[in-house]
């Protein structure tokens, strides 16, 4: 116990000894975490909205043109029997055309003339009891003969989904690069710490220090940097989100249906991920250097 306290203290002293280096290391880890935090926030919010829309509007199952009225009724019964289905509505070609018209409202001329082509297929609109049922219902509906395509009715937030997909790839890319950079920088910081403690390490070895005893302060130094960065990032991203959330009504107005999750639904996830990530970066980064430069 006493030894552990001592080793933690040594790790902390190392941190302070390498002040500016420590600060810049924490800075880059914070950058990584903030990018990742934005990703989590975006992902969760978009996901939440997708779920809301799915629950409200359900999925649309398109029916083969060859299906007879009897077939349609039979299919409808089959869908109703799938567990988790709340209700099913049949949408014939005319209604589909009317719907399309609504979507293209203001662009009526676009649909003029194709009225008679009946290119709009008939379909069922299937809604779920619970959002958790959506995937199983979807795959069950897909299995039914005479249904050639099933998709969620997400037209209202399709733009949001599309943008968020691009943003996610971008954020994960940048986050990944920053993560690698973080690990590299922390391992470099620990390498310098190992060098500046060379004398201590040399003497320790002669006295009979175990490898674990020699390594632990450096691992702790790395872990502390990761944890400090986690806390700083958490405070920053929390402030950021609270400010954003205060403006949610305006943003909602401009995005239409989009609604924001309250921060109480998000913070524990972000904090948890930050702490785990901080420890991972710190311990992994320092271990690389210890292995390489601390030939014990």
């Amino acid at each position: 116990m006493k030894t552990r306290t001592y080793l933690i203290k040594e790790g902390y002293n190392n941190l302070r000894k390498h002040g500016t280096k420590t600060i810049s290391t924490i800075f880059i880890i914070c950058a990584t975490m903030l990018v990742l935090g934005i990703f989590i926030i975006l992902f969760q919010n978009v996901n939440k909205n997708v779920q809301t829309v799915r629950l409200e509007q359900g999925l649309q199952a398109f029916i083969d043109d060859s299906a007879t009225q009897d077939d349609v009724e039979y299919m409808m019964d089959e869908i109703k029997q799938i567990p988790g289905v709340k209700d099913v509505t049949y949408l014939n070609k005319d209604q589909a055309y009317e719907d399309a018209k609504e979507v293209f409202s203001g662009l009526d001329y676009f649909l003029d003339g194709i009225e008679n082509l009946q290119i709009f297929p008939a379909s069922f609109v299937v809604r779920f009891e619970r959002i958790e049922d959506s995937e199983t219902v979807k795959s069950e509906v897909e299995k039914i003969d005479g249904i050639y395509k099933v998709k969620y009715n997400e037209t209202t937030i399709q733009a949001v989904i599309a943008i968020s997909k691009v943003a996610n790839v971008f954020l994960l890319g940048v986050g990944g690069v920053l993560l690698v950079v973080s690990i590299f920088i922390i391992s470099n910081t620990i390498k310098l710490a190992v060098y500046s403690n060379k004398r201590e390490i040399f003497i320790m070895k002669y006295i009979g220090a175990t490898n674990k005893f020699i390594k632990t302060p450096f691992v702790i130094e790395g872990a502390l940097m990761g944890l400090i960065a986690a806390l700083i990032s958490f405070v920053l991203i929390s402030l950021g989100y609270v400010v954003l959330y205060a403006r949610a009504p305006q943003i909602q107005a401009s995005l239409g249906v989009f609604g924001f999750l309250p921060y109480s639904n998000l913070w524990h996830q972000i904090l948890g991920i930050y702490i785990i990530l901080g420890l991972f970066i710190g311990i992994f980064g320092s271990s690389i250097s210890i292995k390489k430069y601390l030939k014990v």
Binding site: K2, T3, Y6, R199, E200, F202, I203, M204, K205, Y206, I207, G208, A209, T210, N211, F213
Partner: protein
């Protein structure tokens, strides 16, 4: 306590630092290891603590075959041997007390043992009252005493010293040897590498002479002779 059996050591570039050395030093003995520069004295000590590994032969210390120690047992084995360097190897950003406590931390001594041992070894080397001094505030002789106290703190049954008075003037060196004799009188086995001819002659202890990696002389009550 210390036994070398047909030990040879060649370094990478084919230099034979020790050549078929056999010698035994018993528990409680005080012995000098002398010889010209490059004769293999430091190599002898390094083999004892497994800093280097013998090319052939066997080294037994306190019944343990040093060459066959498992990597994870080496630290615990080293605690049996206190090492004193010519250049003291102190931590200059720590006080006398902190330098000694450092060694006790390394072997994970209890708080109680740390307090007791600190007091004991400071008294043993005659540094009581200098606990809060930094090494730079001490004379060379005093610095070597700190290093000696650090080696003693972990209560090793063996102390080995590589030219411990090499950086000190003769009078100061006398003092260090006097302390080493006192430590030996309490039962610690001591092996000292030295070039201090006068002291070796005066102390009338066992002298093991190396030359070109071979033991050329081993006299129980010898003088310094190369």
């Amino acid at each position: 306590m210390i036994e070398f059996i047909n030990v040879s050591k060649s370094y990478d570039r084919g230099i034979k630092a020790l050549d078929n050395v056999s010698v035994r030093i018993d528990k409680g003995e005080f012995a000098f290891l002398v010889g010209p520069s490059g004769s293999g004295k430091s190599t002898f000590l390094k083999l004892m603590i497994r800093e280097e590994t013998a090319t052939s032969g066997k080294i037994l210390i306190d019944g343990k075959d040093v060459g066959r120690l498992k990597q994870k047992d080496i630290p615990y084995f080293r605690r049996k041997i206190g090492f004193v360097f010519q250049d003291f190897r102190l931590l200059y950003d720590r006080t006398v007390e902190e330098n000694i406590v450092f060694a006790l931390r390394v072997i994970e001594a209890s708080e109680k043992d740390i307090r007791i041992q600190l007091k004991n070894v400071l008294a043993m080397v005659g540094l009581t009252g200098k606990e809060k001094f930094y090494p730079n505030q001490l004379s060379g002789g005093e610095q070597q005493r700190v290093s000696l106290a650090r080696a003693l703190a972990t209560k090793p049954p063996i102390i080995i010293a590589d030219e411990p008075t090499g950086n000190l003037d003769p009078t100061t060196a006398d003092g260090i040897f006097k302390t080493l004799l006192e430590i030996n009188a309490r039962g610690t086995t001591i092996l000292v590498v030295t070039h201090a001819k006068d002291i070796v002659d005066k102390l009338n202890k066992r002298v093991i002479s190396l030359d070109h990696g071979r033991i050329v002389k081993d006299s129980q009550r010898g003088g310094y002779q190369i």
